[in-house]
Symmetry: C2
Subunit: 587 residues, 2 copies
């Protein structure tokens, strides 16, 4: 096949679009691949659609290869299935909702677990029908609060979502492994560097979960990895809790004067000057217990206060908190919250007062109290005494105070120990490009998907769910493959195999170029031919660099002598070769 640039529906732009923050957005718009229709909503021009279809084809091939089967669901789905699993409510503002003319509720689905579950329930009833892996490549919708970065975080996007159905845990593990391996092959074929990290499985109610992250400074996700091989999304990082220690030999806690010390910094300074440690070591922020008051707002609107205690050298990581408390949203406590809880003395909050517990569900305030894993039994702390200007020193966890549970919401820092003992971690940024997930039986249970097993007994099916953001992946490829002049597509997804430029004014150059294009076409190459008659070579070269076909052939002055230039877009290298050798050089 060949396409004449003079006929192609495209227009390259010299200026960056005003709203473009990242290279992929800037270049995909400038090179005429996509055009904005609304915030986070794009139209696909011929070049963009060609690349998108190639990404989709690679995904299809690798999923089909292990026996997954393609189906297609509508974007518009009724509320009912999502009501049963409570996701209708949990999604909050994050989805598009609408009513039909009869007033029935619908959503534009952001993911399809419920209806895939129901479809399998509709068709299958026996263990003999399983395992089953079915998938779709389909346009999805999320009403993002801040759609941004072009295709990287859109409100409409193409996803490949895949679902596996098994009736044993071992079966699920195998289906999961098949998808995971297929994803590895897909990203390898797409030429995309990736790291597989442990991900938080909580929100979807499942067990094992891993993300494929593409390491990039513009990534929205932070992940940690150790030299010993541990890798996790920062939301999934777990803190190694110190073993509980005895506290029989520890002295009793004492309340000391700490005027004007409502912050950790001022408290540490004051403690070192007014109440130095008996052992001579300096107090540090890590010796203090900071109690942060948070408000959790459930999707149904109810608001609950919770206090989280963590070492004073740590902060609450908003993303870890979001995941830990999902589907509730996490807000800072307001003045109104404090006004309703006069026992909480701002800047001096602690779990203990002389008359007993102040924090915790059974305490004087009744406020749920959660602790960072580092606050293990037998550890000693300086913390607020719930009296203006006073802190309690030597307060011992497990002796003087207790909690209602653990909260993994402290920020992770480079050098923290990996929970598997593989050494200290470093932090890096990545963009999620894929997700594999052992959902388990949550959806099958909620929606009644059971099959008869070998013994004629009804058993609940166990599921996996797997996703690749197709349009996002395309943008990530563009991020990873560009320079200041434009895009540089990997060959597997390039819109064309080769870009032939007729560079010059002479009729003969166009004739040679035309015949080269025809010969390449007949050899099976998909050729873009810049045949524009009155456009200067310089403009053509600039457009070629912007469009990003990886191999360019310049038919110019030497064409008469049977020579053309082969231009490698990535390296910039230009080599003069005989026309007869072009096809071989491209292959």
């Amino acid at each position: 096949m060949s396409t004449r640039l003079s006929q192609l529906f495209v227009r390259t732009l010299r200026e960056d679009p005003v709203d473009a923050e990242v290279a992929s957005h800037r270049l995909l718009v400038r090179a005429g691949y996509i055009r904005r229709q609304a915030p986070g909503v794009f139209a696909w021009l011929p070049l963009g659609l060609k690349v998108r279809r190639k990404v989709e084809a690679i995904i299809r091939e690798e999923l089909d290869a292990f026996g997954a089967q393609e189906v297609l669901f509508p974007a518009l789905l009724p509320k009912d299935p999502y009501e049963i699993t409570n996701r209708w409510t949990e999604y909050g503002d994050g989805i598009f909702r609408l009513k039909d003319r009869k007033g029935a509720d619908y959503l534009l689905a952001p993911t399809h677990e419920e209806v895939f579950t129901l479809l399998v329930k509709d068709l299958y009833s026996s263990y003999k029908d399983l395992p089953l892996s079915i998938y779709q490549i389909q346009d999805k919708y999320r009403d993002e609060a801040r759609p941004r970065a072009g295709l990287l975080r859109g409100r409409e996007f193409s996803m490949n979502d895949s679902y596996s159905f098994d009736y044993t845990d071992a079966g699920l593990a195998l289906s999961y492994e098949q998808h995971r391996a297929a994803y590895e092959r897909i990203f390898t074929r797409l030429g995309l560097e990736y790291v597989i990290v442990q991900a938080d499985a909580g929100a979807m109610g499942g067990s094992k979960s891993e993300e494929f992250l593409h390491p990039t400074p513009i990534g929205e996700d932070t992940f940690v990895r150790s030299a010993g091989g541990y890798a996790a999304n920062v939301e999934a990082f777990t803190t190694a809790a110190p073993a509980p220690m005895g506290f029989d030999s520890l002295p009793p806690a004492e309340v000391l004067e700490t005027p004007d010390a409502p912050t950790i910094e001022s408290l540490v300074a004051l403690a070192n000057s007014a109440h130095p440690r008996p052992d001579g070591r300096e107090w540090t922020a890590a010796d203090t217990l900071k109690n942060v008051v948070l408000a959790l707002v459930s999707p149904d609107g109810t608001r609950e206060l919770v206090v989280v205690g963590l070492p004073g050298d740590r902060d609450v990581d908003p993303k870890r908190a979001e995941v830990a408390f999902a589907p509730a949203e996490v807000e800072a406590a307001t003045e109104a919250d404090f006004a309703k809880n006069p026992l909480l003395v701002k800047g001096y909050i602690g779990p203990w007062v002389e008359t007993g517990a102040l924090l915790g569900e059974d305490s004087a305030t009744g406020i749920r109290y959660l602790l960072d894993p580092r606050i293990s039994d037998g550890t000693e702390w300086i913390t607020g005494a719930n009296i203006e200007g006073k802190h309690v020193f030597g307060l011992v966890a497990g002796r003087d105070f207790a909690s209602d549970g653990v909260a993994e919401i402290a920020n992770v820092t480079a050098g923290d120990e990996a929970p598997d003992g593989s050494g200290p971690v470093e932090l890096a940024r990545g963009m999620e490009i894929g997700h594999v997930f052992q959902l388990g039986r949550k959806y099958a249970e909620a929606l009644g998907l059971k099959v008869l097993d070998e013994n004629g007994k009804l058993v609940t099916v166990t599921m996996g769910s797997y996703g690749i953001g197709v349009t996002r992946v395309m943008a990530v490829i563009a991020e990873a493959n560009h320079d200041e002049k434009g895009l540089i597509w990997p060959r597997n997804v390039a819109p064309f195999d080769v870009h032939v430029i007729a560079a010059g004014r002479e009729e003969s150059i166009f004739e040679v170029a035309q015949s080269l294009v025809e010969s390449l076409e007949s050899t099976g190459f998909d050729v873009l031919f810049d045949d524009r008659p009155k456009v200067s070579p310089g403009v053509k070269f600039g457009d070629a660099e912007l469009l990003g076909v990886p191999l360019i052939v310049i038919v110019g002055r030497d064409a008469a002598a049977g020579m053309v230039e082969l231009w490698d877009r990535a390296s910039g290298e230009r080599t003069s070769i005989p026309i007869a050798d072009v096809a071989a050089a491209l292959a």
Copy 2:
């Protein structure tokens, strides 16, 4: 390629789905091609998706062949462009509307004229860029009042919509012709009988418009055709108006007593008995002028009364009225409407009273008055005298009454003359499968799409819009190709080339079948292999008939002797042939 039926995600059903009115719906569900998700909204199972993709591929090939280029728009679009063309309002309840989290208005687009126009405006600015034909194959939405008949009238459906852009009328005519010819090739390749009929162009504001109808008794459209070659959608049929005649020699009208004659039937009977025609011929309903009071409700909610006069032997055709008055909705006048207009005497309404005009914008009532084209100047009528129990006889059009315009809303009957003089028409029913449309400059004007012409002058672009209902076409193919046992796909769109059945219990039969499948696969056939071990031949044959792969190979008892049966699904004919000849017989 080959697919084992034991692995395929499908389940055939013996029972018809309760809501299925038509064969395509019944069979596509029973054979496991589609599954209902909501009224008019379906999920696509692997078999259904395969057929759909084949239909899409044929459309793509024929559009690409003449240089049309594929793009892709989102379904979710902002209100603004549709507001400019007033379609946001005109669509009424017929579309899905929604708001995002910021309260901005969106729609799920039923068609994309506006955004295609804006995209071309964004990219192009010169006549040199034209002609341009761009298209998409995309999921569309309409909030149908009565979604029905499965894929034939869904609320979500896949469409191929295509748009042409030219700067001269001659250019538009050529682009139109290219699309029309491509559509002919597409429907021919799909094996679908079609009639190209003139269609009403009014609602879309354009000029020339034709529909591709597939003749079928379950069609939603009525069309007319003459032996001489005229063909039109009934909404587009135009009545040949008789030439105006002089009326100098005609006697004056006279008001006569017609007690208890509020209907045409009673009036004709009474006229013949009490006021026989002077020339001895009997009065018929065609001699009477019936005046029908309609209420037109605009999309903005305003309600206007209009009276339409038509010969008494005709009725208002609701579909013709709908098209004639679009985008207003047509309702019968209510008692309240009559109460507000006491001059209208029900059963005795006419355009004339002794004091002057009663109907018409400048009349006593001020009500707009429109006439059927048959009421031409010089024709004489019996019509209501606007007095209970009285009619006026010999009322002459053009002499005694006039109108505000013509209304083509009378029903068309077999035997009516085609407007092009090609003889009487017959009526038939058809299902719209395609539409080609010269939109003209309406959208380009509204949205400011202009280009510089050869003389450097800005000219407004002229557009065509073209559509094929992809999912509907698939259902129409199923309607046209089935019997009581199941589907019978044409080879071009069949989900598989051949369906091989291992029919028997012996291991050897399965081995022969397996090796046949492998050899067919290596020859390039896409094979469905019914390898189910414990399913009886009878059940397998029934499933094969239901699934509808056109060619079936039965590997049974004679397999050991090297013979199999080739079963033609359409004719039912079974031929015994040597295994070695199967590939040749299929080709």
